[in-house]
């Protein structure tokens, strides 16, 4: 049993899960029970920030699954993240009920403001939590399925695919900016009150959401691992390395790509859904093409095709970002660009690749083979 679990997580994965567990225990405790004057105290704002980074890490995992393992460089995953976020946001809007500024029990404020008579058809059902949660995965999943069906069937690959994924998220951004679309236009959805009766401003709710995000990240990691370790995962890597060879062996490459792209989009949707109640707003800016590109940089920095690296990149780069945007705001974009160049040129396997190389140097030659086997098991 433990053997099987270790095989599923891998060594570095086990360390990751242990760190997540530690963070799940330490941060709430430090927030609740450690004296605010102590340096070990974690204030609630920081809990929310960490929760946000966990969502980014899930997004990074979803990108690594398609890019690192199947060679599909999606520069549009921010769209799936945002769609999951909007599905959640729509539920939170309906939860406001008559507590909105205009006090309309059915219509969200922005609809009243636009003089809308009734709720658009696609807002129905979102008052139900379970329905909204279904939409969190189904909407991004359906978009990815349709998009992937068309793109992979026509064998669009490489740069062309990346470009059309950018176009997809850009088009969605423009659409969501329009008031007529019915998603709050450029203000998006905000002023949320509570979820399932829990006040979103309450400390306990924030800690709860943070813990949920940790759980979701751990779950997403294990799902990704299960996929990449299965024989299907081997086919994905085969597609990445030699697509036409895979076809001539008899695999329908487009079906495999479609499967992994759809699963990945659903995962990104979940990340977005957890993100929105923590930051308290979702607006069309989340569809910005630059967001998707940034997320790809996280994965590249952490180590493409390693999963653990994606998590490290998703959290690490954002820690750096919040430090830099605080200390030297004008530098951040250059730092991000520079980081990407350095990683592509000197660290093709990212931070995790560096760690791996360092570890191998530490190991005497006779054990090197064993380490190789482990690395392969991890890959």
């Amino acid at each position: 049993m433990t053997g099987r679990f270790l095989r599923l997580t891998g060594t570095s994965g086990l360390i990751l899960l242990a760190c997540l567990l530690a963070a799940a225990v330490y941060i709430p405790v430090a927030n609740q029970y450690i004296d605010p004057a102590s340096p070990f105290h974690v204030n609630t704002a920081s809990v929310v920030v960490f929760g946000k980074y966990l969502c980014f890490a899930i997004l990074a995992l979803s990108i690594d699954l398609v890019w690192g393992y199947c060679g599909i460089l999606s520069l549009g995953h921010g769209a799936f993240f945002a769609l999951g976020g909007y599905a959640m946001g729509m539920h939170l809007m309906r939860e406001i009920g008559s507590r909105g500024v205009y006090g309309n029990p059915i219509l969200p404020d922005f609809m009243v403001f636009l003089n809308w008579e009734k709720l658009p058809w696609f807002w129905h059902g979102f008052d139900q939590f379970w329905f909204a949660m279904g939409m969190v995965v189904l909407v991004p999943g359906a978009l990815a399925f349709i998009f992937g069906f068309l793109a992979f069937r026509s064998r669009v690959t490489g740069v062309y695919l990346s470009i059309i994924t950018q176009a997809m998220t850009f088009a969605l951004m423009l659409a969501f900016f329009r008031n007529e679309m019915g998603f709050g236009g450029n203000n998006g959805l905000t002023d949320f009150k509570d979820v399932l009766g829990f006040d979103l401003q309450a400390n306990s709710t924030r800690i709860g959401l943070y813990l949920l995000s940790i759980g979701a990240l751990a779950g997403a990691f294990l799902i990704c691992r299960a996929i990449v370790l299965s024989r299907l995962g081997k086919v994905l890597i085969a597609v990445r390395d030699a697509e036409s060879r895979t076809r001539f062996i008899g695999y329908r490459v487009e079906h495999y790509k479609l499967f992994v792209f759809t699963v990945s989009a659903m995962m990104a949707g979940v990340a977005g859904a957890l993100y929105v109640p923590q930051v308290g707003i979702i607006n069309p800016g989340e569809f910005a093409p630059a967001n998707s590109i940034e997320a790809v940089v996280w994965v590249a920095v952490g180590g493409r095709g390693t999963l653990v690296g994606a998590v490290i990149g998703g959290i690490g780069v954002n820690l750096g970002k919040s430090y830099l945007t605080g200390a030297l705001p004008e530098v951040w974009l250059f730092a991000l660009g520079g980081l990407f160049v350095v990683v592509t040129l000197f660290m093709p396997k990212g931070i995790l690749g560096l760690l791996d190389r360092w570890r191998r140097k530490q190991i005497p030659a006779d054990k090197a083979e064993q380490a190789g086997a482990e690395a392969e098991e991890r890959a």
Binding site: S230, K234, A242, R252
Partner: protein
């Protein structure tokens, strides 16, 4: 018509009047070519004669402009995609050895094993004893049993060629298309490869493209000479190498 039909169903591969052009350049020009069951055939011809393009047509990678391409006398290869053609039982080794570099030698064979190929089959696939036996058998045949755990990327060029042949074997197709299997091999490896292919040809139909004449000699099978997209000559190696035109366009140079 009826007799023609009977003739056809007896063939493994039947190409008739195939033409392929790239931007007006005719890579294949009214090519006709037949492989009988259990036959091994060698194809020779100068660079650019259309040998690889012919394999592309047979495996569904390239669609011919005109012509008939039938497998086992009944399957129209010009209408099927790569995966369906592979499923029918046509396997192919590329000219440039193509293996899955970041998989182990063993996993390369695992992925090639005949079996279900659909997404959810592979998602839940478990390794079985039968599979393991089959894999060991293939690894023995291609002499890579002691390298099963190695990354394919770390194999020598010749070993990659063998691994790719092993992948074909694991696929267990009825027709194997082998494009330049001994390119880049040492003489000893070349001889071993000839032995290996002859072994394989005992229960498969095989088409081998090769420039190495001593290797073709070793195979000792009927030879087809391609030139400018069509068949220039056909017969034993001795006979075609005595042919004036073959000497002119190919052997003489």
């Amino acid at each position: 018509m009826n007799t023609l039909h009977k003739e056809l169903t007896r063939t493994v591969l039947y190409l008739d009047g195939i033409s392929v052009s790239f931007d007006g350049f005719k890579a294949l020009n009214d090519l006709s070519f037949v492989v009988e069951p259990g036959e091994m055939r060698a194809i020779i011809g100068p660079n650019g004669a259309g040998k690889t393009t012919m394999m592309d047509v047979i495996t569904g990678k390239t669609r011919p402009d005109v012509g008939t391409a039938l497998f086992a006398g009944q399957h129209d290869l010009t209408k099927l995609d790569e995966a369906s053609i592979a499923e029918l039982g046509i396997g192919r080794k590329f000219q440039r050895p193509t293996v899955f570099e970041s998989h182990t030698v063993r996993d390369n064979i695992v992925l090639s094993l005949a079996g279900k190929r659909r997404v959810f089959d592979t998602l839940f696939a478990r390794s079985t004893e039968d599979e393991a036996d089959k894999i060991d058998q293939v690894l023995d045949t291609i002499r890579l049993a002691d390298r099963a755990g190695m990354m394919a990327a770390d194999l020598s060029h010749g070993q990659k060629q063998w691994l790719e042949i092993g992948m074909l074997l694991a696929q267990d197709p009825s027709l194997l298309l082998v494009d330049e299997p001994v390119a880049g091999m040492t003489d000893a490896e070349t001889v071993q490869t000839a032995t290996l292919l002859k072994e394989i040809a005992k229960d498969h139909s095989v088409v081998v493209v090769e420039h190495d004449m001593s290797f073709v000699q070793d195979l000792g099978v009927m030879v087809t000479v391609l030139h400018e997209g069509s068949v220039l000559a056909e017969g034993s190696l001795d006979r075609v190498s005595a042919d004036e035109r073959v000497i002119d366009v190919y052997l003489g140079r």
